[in-house]
Every structure is written in C-alpha cells, then in structure tokens.
C-alpha cells in the first residue's frame, strides 16, 4: 500500500525533517506513527499525501511512484486517501452535512447519491442528528467525528490521521479511535500519527517510531516501552 525507500525531506538550510526513511505499510494494516514533536510524523504523512514532494528517495502509494505523478494526477490519487487532521479542518460556514459531502461533490456524484452516503456516514459516527448544524456549535469530539465521517464517506483505501485525538479528552479519544478501528476492520489501511503514548498502550497495533527524522524503531517496542 505504502512503500518508502531512502526518503529525505529538507526545508531550506535546516536540518532534514526526514532522513533516509525506508518503510512499508501493507494493505489492511493499522499503523501508529509516533515520536516527539518535530520527529517528522506530519512531514511523512504530507509526503504520502503528495502535499509536498520528497527531497530525494522514492515513495510508492498504491504501487505508484508519487514523484512521477503529474500535478494534474494528484487529485485522483487523493480520492483514494482520507485524511483526518488534529484541527479538524471543517469549513465553519458550511453545515456538518455539507462538509461531509465535499469529497463526494468533488467526484461529481449525483446530489441524491451524495445525500444518501452523507446520511450513512453521519449515522456511522453518531452525528446524523447534527447534520444541519454548523461546526462551531459542535463540541471538539463531534467536530472530529465529522472530520472522520468526511474522510471515510468516499470509502477510501487509505486513511491518514494526523494527531486525530490531540485536542480531545479521553472519552472522545475512545470514540474517534473506535471509528478508525471500525474503518480498518472494513478493509481500510489506517496510518495514525500521534505522540500520545497512552493511545499506543491501549491499542495493540504496529508502531513506527520516528526520532530526528529517522525511523528509530518499527514494531511494537514503543508500545511495550509505553506499557
């Protein structure tokens, strides 16, 4: 699903954000990407998501070398990837339903079909009764569930979540993680970037630890250390 070979990423003259990163995430896996702030977690997700190019090295997503994808082809790659952000990135002047409908609308799906899928996605995250509300009136947990619904509504093969529980209390964290695990159970490959050691301890998943832009460990060692 995702393969990285000797990937470097450097911003200007600063120290590399990613240095010689090689890893593989297989189809259907649930992987935690962890490390302290500045370790390169978000940068790695951005490279996978084609938000930024790698300085060197090769990245294969769905078997395609992303450095060889033309800018006009990137949107089509992204349509197979759902993304969840720590700050939710919901549009405040659009209703929850309109926000969730976004990925379907950009695919040009018929409004009737969009309505059906949005209702289904909101029901899955327990927000069907909040569909007509605007994000600012929702709690943090509700907003993140709406963001998860938006990421999953188009049934992506890959879900990337960057600190999805960073702004949530423990109960809301459980809710969101349950949604991500549910998506994974239905076949979606999930990569969650987090520095929350408690989260790693609670979920028995593969953990890739980054430190100073390098892969420090890959497996369950960090989870064990956290435990």
């Amino acid at each position: 699903m995702i393969q990285l070979f000797h990937v470097f990423k450097q911003y200007g003259a600063e120290a590399p954000a990613l240095s010689d990163v090689s890893l593989e995430v297989r189809k259907g896996e649930f992987v935690f990407l962890t490390g302290p702030s500045g370790a390169g977690k978000s940068t790695l997700l951005k490279l996978i998501f084609c938000a930024e190019p790698a300085s060197s090295g090769q990245i294969l997503v769905f078997g395609r070398n992303v450095s060889r994808i033309r800018p006009s082809g990137i949107p089509y790659l992204r349509r197979n990837i759902g993304v969840v952000f720590q700050d939710f990135k919901l549009l405040p002047e659009r209703t929850v339903a309109e926000n969730v409908a976004f990925p379907l609308e950009v695919r040009g799906q018929h409004p009737r079909e969009v309505r059906g899928k949005v209702t289904q996605a909101l029901r899955a995250v327990g927000l069907d009764h909040r569909a007509a509300k605007f994000p600012p009136v929702l709690s943090g947990g509700e907003q993140q569930r709406a963001a998860v619904a938006r990421a999953l509504v188009a049934d992506p093969a890959l879900l990337l979540a960057d600190e999805p529980t960073g702004n949530l209390d423990l109960d809301r964290t459980f809710e969101v993680m349950a949604l991500l695990e549910g998506a994974n159970a239905r076949g979606t490959t999930v990569v969650v970037a987090t520095h929350d050691r408690g989260l790693l301890a609670r979920h028995k998943k593969r953990v890739i630890a980054l430190e100073g832009g390098r892969v420090a460990s890959d497996g369950d060692s960090v989870r064990r250390a956290a435990s």
Partner: protein
Amino acid sequence: MHRLVLLLRRAVDALRRGPFVTAVAVATIFVAVLLTGIFAAALGGAERLLSAWAGEVPVSVYLAPGADLEAARAAAERLAPGMRIEAVTPEEGLRRLRASLGDEASVLDGVGEGVLPAAVEARLPGMSLAQARETAARLRQVPGAAQVDFGATWLERLETLLRRGRRVGLVLLGLMTVATAVLVANTLRLAVYARRDEIEIMKFVGATDRYIGAPFLVEGVLQGLLGGALAVGALFGATSAFLPWLRAALPIAGRLSRADVLPGSLAWVLLAGGGALGLLASALSLGRFLRRV
C-alpha cells in the same frame, strides 16, 4: 446537467458570501466599461456628425466668367443623377453671402452685384465625405467649371483627426483593459485568499484545479456582466440626458439619435467586454494561487 447547476450554485453562493469583494470588483469593471463606452460613444457620435456635416455641405461648381449657367446646370444634372442641382446666379450668391454674414453684412456694402462667379450647387442630404469627393470629381467636367469646392480641406482635417482619435482610442482601450484586469485580479485575489481554507480542503479531498477554479471563473464572468450591464445602463441614461442638450446647442446634431451614439452592437460589445474582463481577472488571480496551494 447537475454539475452545471452545482457550479452555478457554488458561484452564486460565493458571491453572496463575499458581498464586499463582489461590490469592489463590480464597481471596478463598471468604471472601466463606462470609460470605454464614453470614449466609443463620443467617437461614434463624432463620426456621425462628420457624415452629417459632409451631407449638409453642397458641392459647388464655380463657373468661369461668361460661362452658360443653364448649360452648366443641365450638365450637372447629368453628371450627378439623383442629386438636387441648383443654379446660383452671381446676384443670388451675393444675397446668400449677405444673409450668412448676418450683422456683419455691412462689410459687403459697395460690393458690385457681379463680383461673385455664377455657380451650380449639388446637394444630397446625408451624403458621405467619400460621396462628396466622388461627386466633386465628376462635376469638374461641367462646361465652364473653374473650381469645384465642397469644404474638403476642413472635412478631411476632421476626418484625419477622427482617424487618429480612433487609433489613440484603441491603444487606450488596450492599456485600460490590462490595467483593469490587473486591478480586478488583485481584488479577486482577496476573494480567493479569503477562501484559502476551503480551497485547501477541496484539494485534500481530491478536487482538481478545474473543479476548484470553475466557480471562481463563473463568479468573475457574473461580476463582469453585472459591471458591464450597469455601465451600459449608465451610458443609456447619460446619452438620453446629453443628446437633447447637444441637439439644442449644435443644429447639425439635429438628426443625431441615441442609436448613432450608442448602437445596440456597442452595448452588446461593452456587456461582453465586461464579462471577458471579469473572466480574465479571475483567471489571473486564481492561476497563481492554485499553483501555490
């Protein structure tokens, strides 16, 4: 079909959400189209006046002393069929000159009646300058013709002036189009910037640049059409108010109608120009932003 409806709805929604930017863009395009329209209308009106003047001025054939006026008149009728031909005796010529001088007619006191040459005048209301020139050339064959005159010098000077005015107008139009496009583009860039979060999220969920850009372009066209329509409306109002005044001040402008100054074709061109200006400005503002996001 639903994509088109969705596109229009997104564009109209965006216009509603940013009324200030919309108003500024519409106002800028309005001023640009209005200035262009005023210039084009003034030029068109001046050309019409020139034609009217040429039509009013008779082509006069002055005869050599002793020439047969009646024979000259008959020859003129043959040479310029369809035109009103009039034989003017030296006495009639002097009377007309006195009348045209009005209060200054006394300068002619003591001038003998036979001092002016006999003449044949050819008139055709609405005759163009080219027609007058052609008629004058033909009337040179009138037996006894000494000189043919139709006020060519000043009419040609006026025509040259208008030709230059047209060239300057085209250059000004080009410069103004570029300046306005840049100005409106900067205004619309504010609109694009105000919606950068929306654009960023659209990109994250897989929207193509075309999907993101299309509503902005439609918005630009709608703003341009609105600005253009307001400018055309203002021009119609201005010509309605200005023409009666011009007709009263300038007798030659008596036949000048609103259609002469602001023909329907010019109104449509201005309207379409507004739309095109909005489209160009949107494309300029969007292109750079999308490449950056």
